[in-house]
């Protein structure tokens, strides 16, 4: 067990980083905002951290800076984008990510262009990352319990209803977008700290797709959705290494199969099962109702 853990240390560490990225996507998706700006902040913070690291800035200062920058930019983006709804927002944020990619590739002196920045010190290990994931997950789980969770549900499914029960949808969205930016930045920074590099592969459409895949496979029904999604995405390539050049194909098939059987993702499936239990309890109640009970 110990040797297994040590052996797959980097996969496990990467999985934790992905979980934070998935959380970042999740907090906006949860309130019906289909933004993929997380990837943008992941990239901005990642390059920021890598560049600062080259100048031996203390790691904690880098994290602080990454959070500050993504928070501020996140807020600005949120104020700009909050009036867009649904897929328009998705498109704008995809364009934001792709634009960043063009910048990264062309601004070679700073970003290392298509190559990237390599050979940075590794600042955080698997246990450190685990601790961060636990803290974020607990905070999210607490945050979405009760009142806030219900508000998120109403934002996700019916804006007008949300407004009619006193929810300021604009404010909620700005909060969610900013929070998402913070988490995206944190994830990007930790990614560099864990791997010791930042490369242009980490920004672009396929990262958007990967991140979406995590959130959709895991589901947006509850905080454990992204945890499951990130775990799947981190381990699939490992488990499928036997398939050689067909690996991506096999991975594709697995994703399709999972989605066909659980279109709401793993978390949705879990909730559905719980719901099935609730329904069973109810039907026994109904049968016991006497006729005069109803017509009274």
């Amino acid at each position: 067990m110990i040797s297994w853990l040590a052996y797959y240390d980097d996969v496990i560490g990467h999985m934790f980083v992905l979980m934070i990225l998935a959380f970042s996507m999740y907090v906006v998706m949860r309130v019906g905002v289909f933004s993929v700006a997380s990837i943008g902040f992941w990239a901005i913070a990642g390059y920021g951290a890598a560049i600062a690291d080259q100048y031996d800035v203390p790691p904690l200062l880098i994290v602080g800076g990454a959070l500050l920058v993504s928070g501020v930019f996140g807020l600005l983006l949120a104020l700009l984008a909050v009036r867009l709804s649904g897929l328009s927002l998705t498109m704008v944020t995809i364009a934001f990510v792709l634009l960043l990619q063009v910048i990264v590739l062309n601004w070679e002196d700073v970003t290392g262009g298509s190559l990237g920045i390599f050979g940075l010190p590794v600042h955080i290990g698997t246990y450190g990352l685990l601790a961060v994931v636990i803290v974020v997950a607990v905070l999210l789980a607490l945050y979405e319990r009760g009142r806030t969770g219900r508000a998120q549900d109403s934002l996700l499914h019916d804006e007008q209803l949300a407004q009619s029960v006193g929810i300021d949808i604009r404010r909620q969205r700005i909060v969610a977008l900013t929070l998402s930016a913070l988490l995206g930045g944190l994830a990007g920074c930790l990614n560099v700290f864990q791997t010791g590099m930042m490369v242009s592969n980490e920004v672009g459409f396929h990262v958007v797709v990967d991140a979406l895949t995590m959130v959709i496979l895991g589901g947006t029904a509850a905080w454990y959705g992204p945890v499951i999604g990130a775990a799947i995405l981190a381990w699939l390539p490992q488990m499928l290494s036997f398939a050689d050049e067909w690996r991506l194909a096999v991975q594709g098939v697995i994703i399709v199969v999972v989605l066909v059987f659980a279109p709401q993702g793993a978390a949705g499936l879990i909730q559905r099962l719980a719901r099935g239990v609730a329904a069973k309890r109810r039907s026994s109640l109904l049968k016991r109702r006497e006729p005069q009970d109803v017509s009274a």
Partner: protein
């Protein structure tokens, strides 16, 4: 002093004057009826009060504070809640949770300016339990809305609005889809709520119910308020009979 005053309200959609210069006021503790032919602007008036439709002209004042121009959530915070003519429940939440979201953002009483603190959790739960019991939904509290028949979904919708204990409750055809016995049952509930000091504005086509629960009736046609007064007197008016009730329908 009236609880709510609407002065010369106008709502237009392109060329359609859905609400066309309505001036009415609602008195505290009363149940007000709002009737009128289909498309006469009743729902739009409720939308205008609750902030879902923009006024082109005129104003809405609640407790001397102008609320027209505010967002729906701000208006809710000031003590107005509403139901929708077409049912709006969240399929991912249970019946009880659907009712809870109506009260989650309710403010502690005594402030009225919308700046009060959110209600403590216990108080929220008490109010919701009360509303659940009032509308006879105890047995369905753990169900999901899609599993309920239409009539019960309506009750959940009403419970959500009532549970937050707002000063003014706007109900858009709450009796739709209910049988006569069920209507009677629900009308007793509404009377009880009014007796507790709440103010209601109820859109309804069933004149029998209107007569039973309302102390004051507004009649709309073509976006205007064409008559108001006690239900009995108002319903007798020829203009109301012609536009709304039809010839044979003199009495209930």
């Amino acid at each position: 002093m009236s609880l709510l005053s609407i002065v010369d309200a106008q709502v237009r959609f392109g060329g359609v004057r859905a609400v066309d210069g309505v001036t009415i006021s609602l008195e505290r503790g009363n149940v007000h009826g709002l009737v009128g032919p289909n498309g006469s602007g009743k729902t739009t008036l409720v939308n205008a009060i609750s902030g879902f439709a923009r006024l082109h002209d005129g104003s809405v004042t609640l407790n001397d504070e102008q609320i027209s121009g505010m967002r729906p959530d701000q208006i809710f915070t000031r003590g107005i809640s509403r139901t929708f003519q077409s049912i709006r429940l969240l399929s991912t939440l249970t019946v009880r949770e659907n009712i809870l979201i109506g009260t989650d953002r309710a403010r502690a009483e005594g402030d009225g300016r919308g700046a009060g603190k959110l209600l403590p959790r216990d108080a929220v739960n008490d109010r919701v339990d009360h509303a659940v019991a009032l509308l006879g939904l105890e047995k369905f509290a753990g169900d999901f809305p899609s599993q309920l028949p239409y009539g019960l979904q309506r009750r959940v919708e009403i419970a959500r609005s009532v549970a937050s204990r707002p000063e003014l409750i706007l109900l858009d055809e709450p009796f739709a889809g209910m049988s006569r016995a069920e209507r009677d049952e629900l009308s007793d509930v509404l009377i009880e709520i009014a007796d507790d000091g709440f103010t209601l504005l109820v859109i309804e086509h069933d004149m029998r119910i209107i007569h039973k629960i309302c102390s004051h009736l507004f009649v709309m046609n073509f976006g205007r308020c064409i008559a108001e007064g006690s239900p009995r007197e108002t319903a007798e008016l020829e203009i109301v009979q012609e536009a709304y009730l039809g010839k044979q329908h003199g009495t209930a």
